[in-house]
Amino acid sequence: MIVLVKAGLLASVQDLGRPGFRDSGMPLAGAMDRTALRAANLLVGNDPGAAAVELTLMGGSWRFEADLLAAVAGADMATTLDGAPVAPWSSFQARAGSTLLFKMARSGARAYLALRGGVDVPLVMGSRSTYARAGVGGLQGRLLMNGDRLPVGRADGPGPAPLAVLPAEVPPCGGGATLRVLLGPQDDRFTAEGIATFLSSGYRVTPQNDRMGYRLEGPPIALRGAPDIITDPLLPGAIQVPGSGQPIIMGADAQTTGGYAKIAAVIGPDLRLLGQARAGELLHFRRTTQAAAVQAVREERAGLAALAARIASAGAGRKG
């Protein structure tokens, strides 16, 4: 068990989401930074898609009720364990009674707290991810609150030796980002100038950002006609442009259908950069190709495989 003593801003249990029900209107949900979730899980020897805690902007204070291998990844929240600094993207051995404290994120927006054995809330429709709008998954279908106790699953053995990801290997978190995009499916609803504006301008993240979507503001993107399309399927990463010309990027909790023209979609490996963006930061968009996007997916997978291999070799010989 681990207890949330004093909640930060927003915290919820997330894994890689709830695929397979999109045709019934069920959003994917799951971690907004899937790379950080996977890395945190690998650091404690979990399946990379195990359930962990997603912390937003400020992580609050937690108390361990048992000895436990834990890890953090994602935004750097100046984390301390009983007062001693915890490196970003690292695992550490907590003791029963230990206090883990997350402050305001220095950069980035979301950090992940993984626990050896995973957060053991019930599987709902194949996932432990919280989709709070429908009260599904996570702890009682809701965001975490002061006093919540999270059960931790059983694990075989003590797990890998504590390890910190080398600073050079830590993926970027926050501070503005360039997201690679594939144009479409409704790029034909925009003028050539509109597409050029979109690809050459900076768009500021507004305070209207959450797991469902990020509203941005910047130079208006010119449409050819009305922004409304016949309602059609919508994925996380899709960039909708309503009549205002101000783009909205859909997040993990995006509804499954939408009625605004979609100028482009952020490629999967770059979607984590959205999850780490916060209000006031500038985002830019760079057009890419299917081949380059597929290469980026391969690189993302190779990076996680390399991390898994390094954890395995560092932990060789560790005994319980």
Binding site: M26, A134, I230, D232, P233, L235, G237, Q255, T256
Partner: protein, 238 residues
């Protein structure tokens, strides 16, 4: 007309038309079923909507070019699907009016008809579930009698109880979960369109036909008890 578009590196959009139309939607569901059946090795998920379907695939394991070719071949082989082709027709019991349908009398006034006539018109058609979306399990229905077209509420409700059956603009629908909304509430079904803890969480599927069956308040209470005891309560027409 088949148009193939991209939504990200792992999403393929297949457009079969550019209108909200029963025949186009029937072809969408026919193709969706065929893709699920024949291309299951390469396709992770299929999401039908009014006039298009979204096919999700792993762009590394199931490269785009080969998948596009197979989807085009499949679409070409299907030809024209019959307009009336429902996967099945389901019956949804609805208690109209009273506390469960607080706007029914206003809808009658706005349409210049009796309450009984409104219920009769609403319960007459087999509606087409073009797609599910907006919230988990929410059916976008086609087939509302144009005589029942009423404006949306000027001030939307912030909380609509689950199971509410509503009319707004030229559309009608059922709210599976508590949500905000601006449509007028004419009744409520005792069935749970969405229950994440059931083995089959969703009662309705895109491509189904749907008929509303008027029931009494007493029948509503009895059905609500059976649902609370774990029955899904859905009837499928033979």
């Amino acid at each position: 007309m088949v148009r193939i578009l991209a939504q990200g590196e792992g999403g393929l959009v297949v457009e079969l038309g550019d209108a909200i139309d029963d025949a186009v939607n029937a072809r969408v569901h026919t193709l969706a079923a065929a893709v699920r059946d024949r291309l299951s090795a390469e396709v992770d998920e299929v999401v039908p909507s009014y006039r298009s379907l979204l096919i999700l695939h792993d762009p590394v394991g199931a490269p785009r070019a080969g998948l596009v070719r197979k989807v085009k071949e499949l679409a070409a082989s299907l030809g024209e699907a019959p307009v009336a082709g429902f996967s099945r027709v389901v019956r949804l019991p609805v208690c109209y009016g009273g506390a469960l349908g607080p706007d029914l009398e206003e809808v009658a006034r706005l349409t210049g008809r009796s309450v009984e006539a409104v219920v009769g018109l609403h319960a007459a058609p087999v509606y087409r579930i073009h797609l599910l979306g907006f919230t988990p399990g929410f059916p976008y229905l086609g087939g509302l009698d144009p005589a029942l077209t009423v404006p949306r509420l000027e001030v939307p409700r912030s909380r609509i109880p689950p199971g509410s059956v509503a009319i707004g603009g030229g559309q009608t629908g059922v709210y599976p979960i508590e949500s905000p909304g601006g449509w007028r509430l004419v009744g409520r079904t005792p069935l749970k369109l969405f229950d994440p803890l059931r083995p089959h969480p969703f009662l309705l599927a895109a491509g189904d036909g749907l008929r509303f069956v008027p029931i009494s308040p007493a029948a509503f209470e009895a059905a609500a008890e059976r649902v609370a005891a774990g029955e899904d309560g859905l009837e499928v027409e033979p």
